[in-house]
Symmetry: C2
Subunit: 413 residues, 2 copies
C-alpha cells in the first residue's frame, strides 16, 4: 500500500464553515484501523430534508439497503459512517448490524429509526460487529460540534491519500446559504474494493423531493461521469441534507424544483459535486495524471457519454496516457467498441489543442514533438469529434500505472 | 517490450499436416519488422468455400471491410496477410491499398478480385504502402507449398511471444478430413492495439452457407468467450476455408448445417477454435495465469455470459489473481455491476474446488490456507452460482500484471 499522498492532491484545504443545524463528532472505534478516527456521527436539526443516490450494483451493501428504505420518509436526524468494514456481502448478519446500529443511533439522536442513515466502507465479506461502536454513539451525538467538517472528512477515509472537501456560499433569493461536502473515493485495500462515499449538507430550506431532483440531476455530469477502473462498488453513496436553518435569515422554503430562485444554488451544487468528484479521480489508485475526455458530434448526449466512458475505461488508453503517449489509435479502438454510431472516416481526435487525426486519417499538420510535450502535462484533455450530430459529454478518469496493479495485486505476494 | 516467451506457452508445437487444396508461402517484405517474415500468402483450390466472422467494432479496418464484401460470393482462391501495419484508420488511402492489393493478388492467383481475402495487423493510423509487397505476390502464389503451416503461423505474429497452431483429423461419413488452424493474438505494440487473426482450413467438402453457420456457432463459446483487457480491435478476423478435396476420398458434400454426419466435424472444429482461443489468452500481454470463469444458476445463458465477462474484464479481479489473492469480494462487485439479475443472499463462489462463499456470506468451512495454496496454480478456475435459474456460461481471461502496464505504457517513457 502506498502511503504517499497523490501528486494530484489539492495544494491546500478549504476553510469549511459551519452549517447551522449540522453537528459533527468523530471517534477512534478501532474497527480495523489503529490510531486514527474511523467513526463519524453527523446530527441534523429537526425537519432536516434528505436526498440520496446510491450504487446501481445488483449486490448492494446492507447500509445502502437501509438508506434506500429510510429515504422515502424524507427527513434525517443522524448519519453514522464507519470506515474499516463495508458491511457488504455479510448476509443476515449484515442486516442485523444495520438494524442494531440504527436502533442505537435513533436512541442517541432521540429520533425515529427511519430518520437514521448509515454508510460503511472498508473490508467486504467480513461481519461488522456493531458492539465495536454502538456504545459510542450517544456520547458522540451529545458532544457533536458544528465546526468539525475537517474531522469528518478524515474519519471516512480508507486508502484515500488525502481527505476531500468542498464548500460554497450562494445567494438564495437574497439570503446567503452555505453548502459543504466531503467525499472519500476510489481507494481499495485488501480484500476490499473501491467505495465512493460523499455527504453534502446545506442550511438552505429545500424540501426533500426538490433536494432529490437537484441531486439526481447534479450527479449525472459529476459523480456519474468519473471512472477510475470501471469497477462499481457495492456501497457507493451520495447524500444531501438540508437543515433549512437559513429560513431564519430570510431564505424562502423551496418546494418546486423548477423554482427560478434555485438557479444559483443548482449551479453551486453542480460545481461542488464536480469538485468532489474530480478530487476522487485525482486520488485514483496509482494515478499520476487526470484525464478529461470530451466527445462531440455524437448522435445524442447519451451516445456521447457511452463513447466517452468507453474511452475512459479502456486499459489501453489509460496505459498510453501513463506512458505519455498520444496514442490516438487506441482511442479509435475505444470509439469503435462502444457500440454507438461512428463513422471512421469522419472522426477527429485532439490532445489538448493539438488535432492529431481528422477525416479518419492522421492530421497532416500534426507535430509529434508538440504532442509529445503536451502529454507530459499533469492534466490531459482528449477531445473526440464524431461529426455525426450534436451530442456531447465530458467524463474524467486517471491514468493506469504499475502502481495501480501493485496496490491491488501485490499485497499477498 | 518483453521478448521472453509467455510462461503459459504450449510446451511443444503440433505436427501440422498438409490440407489438400491449400498452399502456403511466406516472405520478408520488410513492412515494419526486420529479419523475420511478415507476409503470408495462402492459395486455395478452385471452388474452395469460405466463411468469416469479424470485429464488431464500428470502426473496422479497411481489410475487414473488403473481406465482408467478398464473403457474400462464397468462394476463396487466395488470402494475403501482412504483419507490421494494420491498415486501420487510414481513410481513403486504406481503401486504395486494399484495392491495389486485391488486384495484384487476383493476378497472382488467376482468380476474380472478389475471391481475394486480406488481413493486416500492426501499427494503426499509418498508411500501408502496397508497393512494399504486391510485387512479391505472383512469385509467392507460384512457389506456395502445402507443408508450410508452421511458417504461416510465424509470419502473422506481432507481439505474440509464440506462434499458435492447432490441428485435428476427424471422420466425415467414413472419410478422414483434416482441420488446421493458426492464430495470432492479443499482443500490442506502440502505437498499436491488439488484433486477433485466425485462419482455419479443411479439406472437407462443406458448402459456404454451412461453413458460415458452423463458424458463427463455433465462435460463441471460444473466441467470443475470451478477453485479455476488454478492448476490441478494429481488425479481428476469423476465417474458415474448405477446399473440398476430401470428396475424392469419398467424403460427402455437406449442404445442410443440420446434417447429422457433421456432428464429429462440429465438435472437432469447436475444440480446435477453443484450443486456438486459449492460446491467445495464454499469450495475453504480461499474463502469468489463465483464468476460467464459469457462471451457473443465471436467469439465462446470455445473462450468465454477461456476468462472466463482467468478472473477466474487472481490473480488480484480474489484479487480485495476479496477486494470488482469492478475493471473492471483488467477484461480488463484478456480479453486481453487470446489470444482470443477482440476489446477493443466494450467491456462492468457488476457487477451484474450494467454496469460499455461499448464501451471501463467507463459507464457514472455507480454509484460508487451502485457498491461498490453490491461488498459486497457473490455471485458476472461478465458479459463481447465482442460484436463480439454469443459465450457464464459461469464459477465459488472464491476470493483470505490472508487465501489462509496462508493455502498453512504458515505451515512451
Amino acid at each position: 500500500m502506498s502511503a504517499a499522498v497523490s501528486p494530484l492532491a489539492p495544494k491546500s484545504m478549504p476553510d469549511m464553515p459551519a452549517i447551522e443545524g449540522v453537528a459533527i463528532a468523530t471517534a477512534e472505534a478501532g474497527i480495523k484501523y489503529k490510531n486514527r478516527t474511523d467513526l463519524l456521527v453527523m446530527t441534523f436539526a429537526a425537519d432536516t430534508q434528505v436526498a440520496g443516490v446510491f450504487t446501481r450494483s445488483k449486490c448492494p451493501s446492507a447500509p445502502v439497503d437501509l438508506c434506500r428504505q429510510n429515504l422515502s420518509q424524507g427527513t434525517a436526524r443522524v448519519l453514522v459512517v464507519n470506515s474499516g468494514n463495508a458491511n457488504a456481502f455479510t448476509g443476515r448478519k449484515g442486516r442485523e448490524t444495520t438494524a442494531t446500529t440504527a436502533r442505537a443511533a435513533a436512541n442517541a439522536a432521540s429520533c425515529g429509526e427511519d430518520q437514521v442513515f448509515l454508510a460503511s466502507t472498508g473490508v467486504i465479506g467480513e461481519p461488522l460487529d456493531p458492539a465495536r461502536f454502538t456504545h459510542l454513539l450517544a456520547d458522540l451525538a451529545q458532544s457533536a460540534q458544528a465546526d468539525r467538517w475537517l474531522d469528518a472528512g478524515r474519519a471516512i477515509m480508507t486508502t484515500d491519500t488525502y481527505p476531500k472537501y468542498a464548500t460554497a456560499t450562494v445567494d438564495l433569493a437574497g439570503a446567503a446559504v452555505t453548502i459543504n461536502g466531503i467525499a472519500k473515493g476510489a481507494g481499495m485495500i485488501a480484500p476490499d474494493m473501491a467505495t465512493m462515499l460523499s455527504f453534502v449538507a446545506t442550511d438552505a430550506p429545500i424540501a426533500a423531493p426538490v433536494l432529490q431532483a437537484l441531486l439526481s440531476a447534479g450527479v449525472e455530469d459529476t459523480f456519474n461521469a468519473i471512472t477510475v477502473d470501471s469497477d462499481t462498488s457495492t456501497s457507493d453513496t451520495l447524500m444531501l441534507f438540508a437543515t433549512g436553518a437559513a429560513a431564519k435569515r430570510g431564505a424562502p422554503r423551496i418546494t418546486d424544483a423548477a423554482d427560478p430562485r434555485l438557479d444559483a444554488f443548482k449551479r453551486a451544487l453542480g460545481d461542488l459535486l464536480k469538485n468532489l468528484a474530480l478530487q476522487v479521480v485525482r486520488d485514483g489508485e496509482g494515478a499520476r495524471k487526470q484525464v478529461q475526455i470530451t466527445v462531440q458530434g455524437a448522435e445524442s448526449d447519451a451516445a456521447a457519454k457511452r463513447i466517452a466512458l468507453s474511452i475512459a475505461n479502456s486499459p489501453l488508453v489509460k496505459t498510453a496516457v501513463a506512458g505519455e503517449d498520444a496514442n490516438w489509435g487506441r482511442i479509435v479502438m475505444a470509439v469503435g467498441k462502444s457500440g454507438e454510431a461512428a463513422d471512421r472516416d469522419k472522426l477527429a481526435i485532439s490532445f489538448g489543442p493539438i488535432r492529431v487525426a481528422r477525416d479518419g486519417e492522421r492530421d497532416p499538420h500534426y507535430s509529434e514533438q508538440a504532442t509529445s510535450d503536451y502529454m507530459k502535462n499533469e492534466e490531459i484533455e482528449i477531445t473526440v469529434d464524431l461529426g455525426l450530430g450534436a451530442g456531447t459529454a465530458t467524463v474524467w478518469t486517471c491514468d493506469l500505472t504499475k502502481e495501480y496493479v501493485a496496490i491491488n495485486g501485490d499485497y499477498r505476494s
